[in-house]
């Protein structure tokens, strides 16, 4: 019934949206900075063919372990590949896997959370006990189990099972938070009215309850992008994620980097910094979004 986010369809709506952005920047300056970092990452990831100075996969044995220079801003790796270009392409890998896993995990988690709150009783109890089981495992451990159990299934260069492996541990965490929010919505008169009007359960859940838990959903979605990027990097580092020669930040820290990091510290410094910066930016943006959207923080 109540839409939280305005739809900028008219010039008036557009100015209102701009006004909101200005308000967000004033109220959450760190959030705005983190958004700029995310925007740069997204831009680099989307347009990496235009931004990257070199092909990230091309081997150049004449430039093995070259230090940072004008030609190679972040140096080269053990195959003579340009690290800066691999970082740029790596941002695409991180964002695709990070965003998709977080979106899938958060959306499934939110659906289960709302359904759990709406139906209550035994259904709620069963869903929550199952969530308890999943919650018993740390995110990276559960992702490790799933990725080891599933075979690689690549679509368009992206391993769907890697995305699933990272998404599954996100589900219970989001389901818990969204359920708490949905419990408050469930007792609202308009939900009772929808029930009395004879609307179906799915219509009540998706059209009347879901829009009112968008704020926690968005916050969790943003926060878990950081977690998913970190999980992808960790799995790739452990040899269970992205496979060479694809550019991925976690992968850049493992393999040959472990052999040569003493002679060529740039092989680990730049990918490490990219992971830290991305995680920092998404976490900060998630916090800022929470502070901005949650009315309790506006007091």
């Amino acid at each position: 019934m109540t839409l939280v986010l305005p739809q900028p369809t008219t010039p008036g709506a557009f100015s209102a949206a701009l006004g909101k952005v200005g308000e967000f920047t004033r109220q959450q300056p760190l959030g705005a900075v983190s958004f700029v970092i995310i925007f740069v990452m997204m831009f680099a990831g989307i347009f990496c063919e235009l931004v990257a100075p070199y092909d990230p996969l091309t081997i150049d044995f004449a430039a093995i372990l070259a230090p940072p220079s004008i030609d190679h801003w972040c140096g080269t790796d053990a195959y003579g590949r340009d690290i800066f270009s691999r970082l740029i392409y790596g941002s695409r890998t991180a964002l695709v896997i990070g965003f998709t896993s977080s979106f899938v995990g958060s959306s499934l988690g939110a659906t289960l959370g709302i359904a759990s709150a709406y139906f209550g009783g035994r259904i709620d109890s069963w869903i929550q006990r199952f969530m308890d089981v999943l919650l018993a495992f740390p995110l990276i451990v559960l992702a490790l189990v799933v990725v080891a159990a599933l075979r690689s299934f690549v679509v368009g260069g992206v391993d769907m099972n890697l995305i699933l492996a990272i998404a599954i541990p996100i589900i219970p965490r989001v389901a818990r938070v969204v359920r708490a929010a949905a419990l408050g919505v469930r007792v609202m008169p308009y939900v009772d009215a929808a029930r009395a009007a004879g609307y179906s359960n799915s219509r009540i859940i998706f059209r009347h309850m879901a829009p009112n838990v968008v704020a926690p959903y968005l916050i969790m979605l943003t926060a878990f992008i950081a977690q998913a990027i970190l999980a992808e990097a960790s799995l790739s580092f452990l040899g269970l994620g992205v496979v060479e020669p694809k550019a991925a930040w976690g992968l850049m820290l493992s393999g040959n980097a472990a052999d040569f990091y003493r002679e060529a510290p740039w092989m680990i410094l730049f990918p490490g910094a990219a992971i830290s910066l991305a995680v920092f930016a998404f976490n900060l943006f998630g916090d800022a979004l929470r502070d901005y959207l949650d009315p309790r923080f506006k007091v």
Binding site: I59, Y79, V154, V243, E244, P245, S254, A258, D259
Partner: protein, 525 residues
């Protein structure tokens, strides 16, 4: 002056005595070593990976074995002595007496017969990559419990060396009769160590066999082979002293790192290696049934440039044909560069490759390259190949799997293109060429090709006793193989083995498959 001289003599004597004592094997202790892959099963005779030998060799004996002090000479293991008929058609072995399997069953010539029959005529469901090697055996007679006679159908000039193959673990006839596949899951040998446990993902361990037939051996009380699938984990364990050795081989960078960290505590031994990485095409799958596609992909690979670069970062080093470069039967560089895939003019070669792909209608070729999930040197090999093929416009997805699923996929033919390996234990052409025989003759041939011309060249060469003519036949085989492009070596390896100096009695060789029974290994601590 006299005092100084006296002190000098005393010091020299003391040093000499000390050295002699240091070389006297000490009994006891546990050797802990790293195994960088976990064996898919326990059957040496059915395996082609070192992971099986580094796991199972200490539990088994073979008929003969290579004398690593005089490699490639052979010496007896279960065989006490042997005679070879002048026409090379009969091999008679006298076996050691009083030998027992670990379950207490007495060892007899029937066990040798059962072991070799299983390899040359594998029953239904038994995988035998050595089938082609032993195809020339006509009969195996066992006139008494301690004599076994191999009669040949045809001459095989390398047969004696084949009897020393480390893959020919001798199994109990009783076990094989009960279940021909028993060696895959059960360990019962006559080797220096008795199996204790295999904890999957962790380790294998064995304890001293008190009834071992070679008196006074083994020196160790026990051993533990720890699976360290990640190179970094293996190096850290070696550096920290959790393991004392890794017998397969490390990269130059790994050697340098450990040498810097451990200094004089570390022993470094290097050798060329009877091992190469191969590019194998599944000839039963389109478009790899087309010789133009296979040739184009092979011609796009700059082996000479790759050798220069990859040798700095991996164990890959030498460019060569099917026989180890530098060994007597190997093809000379001048002849090699004339074969497809070995040209030094890579620009011209790639242009030709593009034309071939266009002719075959495969200008936008995409496929999956199957590779083993072993960092060294499979990952550098895969990364290199992906790069090389991209340069002629081919898009490749690099897929790395653990040893068991990788071998399962390759053996079942569930792949497009794979990085395979030729894991030899000596520089013998009968051994090296067997991998490329038609699939119905050689299960080792993972390209699944059928080529009767290659089979005939192999048969002709195996009967040829004149070394020059034999070498010419090997080269004709190689030419036919590379022109058809079913499989082709990528690069040959360079072996670097690191052991703590406390590990004594282990001998370096050009093959990581040899000398792994650990019978003569001891700890100087």
């Amino acid at each position: 002056m006299r005092l100084k001289l006296g002190l000098l003599i005393t010091a020299a004597l003391a040093w000499g005595l000390g050295s002699a004592q240091a070389q006297t094997p000490k009994k006891g202790g546990e050797l802990v070593y790293a195994i960088t892959a976990e064996t898919p099963n326990y059957d040496c005779a059915g395996s082609e990976t070192f992971a099986t030998l580094h796991f199972a060799s200490p539990f088994y004996s073979t008929l003969l074995q290579f004398d690593l002090s005089k490699f490639p000479a052979v010496k007896g293991d279960l065989a006490k002595s042997w005679t070879v008929a002048p026409d090379l058609m009969t091999y008679t072995f006298k076996l050691n007496e009083g030998v027992k399997f670990h379950d207490g069953t007495p060892f007899t010539s029937a066990d040798i017969k059962a072991t070799y029959d299983r390899m040359r005529n594998p029953p239904q469901g038994v995988i035998s990559p050595r089938k082609a090697t032993f195809a020339d055996i006509d009969t195996i007679d066992t006139p008494d419990a301690n004599t076994v006679i191999f009669k040949m159908k045809a001459v095989n000039a390398s047969m004696l060396e084949h009897f020393a193959s480390p893959w020919n673990c001798v199994y109990s006839a009783k076990d094989i009769a009960a279940d021909p596949n028993a060696p895959r899951t059960k360990i019962n040998g006559t080797g220096p160590f008795i199996f204790v446990e295999h904890v999957k993902g962790s380790h294998v361990s064995g304890k001293r066999n008190p009834d071992y037939f070679r008196k006074g051996l083994p020196y160790l009380d026990s051993f533990k082979g720890v699976f360290t699938l990640q190179a970094a984990a293996m190096l850290n364990a070696l550096q920290g002293g959790q393991v004392m050795a890794e017998f397969r081989g490390v990269s130059p960078a790994e050697r340098d790192r450990l040498k810097a960290a451990l200094g004089d505590k570390l022993r470094v031994e290097e050798s060329s290696w009877t091992l190469n990485l191969l590019v194998a095409f599944n000839t039963e799958k389109k478009p790899f049934d087309d010789v133009r596609v296979r040739k184009a992909l092979l011609m796009a690979i700059d082996r000479w440039g790759g050798s220069q670069g990859l040798s700095k970062i991996s164990t890959l080093r030498s460019v060569g044909g099917v026989i180890r470069p530098g060994s007597p039967s190997a093809t000379a560089e001048a002849d090699l560069v004339k074969l497809p895939g070995f040209s030094k003019d890579i620009k011209k070669s790639r242009e030709e490759a593009k034309k071939l792909l266009k002719e075959a209608g495969q200008e936008n070729l995409k496929f999956v390259l199957w590779n083993r999930n072993l960092a060294m040197p499979y990952t550098p090999g895969g990364v290199f190949l992906v790069d090389q093929w991209r340069q002629i416009g081919v898009e490749v997805e690099h897929k790395q799997s653990d040893t068991a699923p990788y071998l399962a996929a390759l053996n079942a033919g569930n792949y497009d293109v794979a990085i395979d390996f030729s894991n030899l234990f000596m520089d013998d052409s009968t051994l090296a060429l067997a991998k490329y025989l038609s699939r119905d003759r050689s299960p080792q041939n993972l390209s699944r090709s059928i080529d009767r011309e290659l089979d005939k060249l192999y048969d002709d060469h195996i009967r040829e006793r004149d070394p020059a003519k034999r070498k010419a036949l090997v080269q004709a085989f190689e030419k036919r193989l590379f022109e058809q492009g079913y499989q082709e070596p990528l690069l040959w390896w360079h072996r670097i083995v690191l052991t703590h100096k406390t590990v004594m009695g282990w001998k370096m060789s050009p093959s990581h498959n040899l000398g792994q029974d650990l019978a003569e290994v001891w700890l100087n601590q």
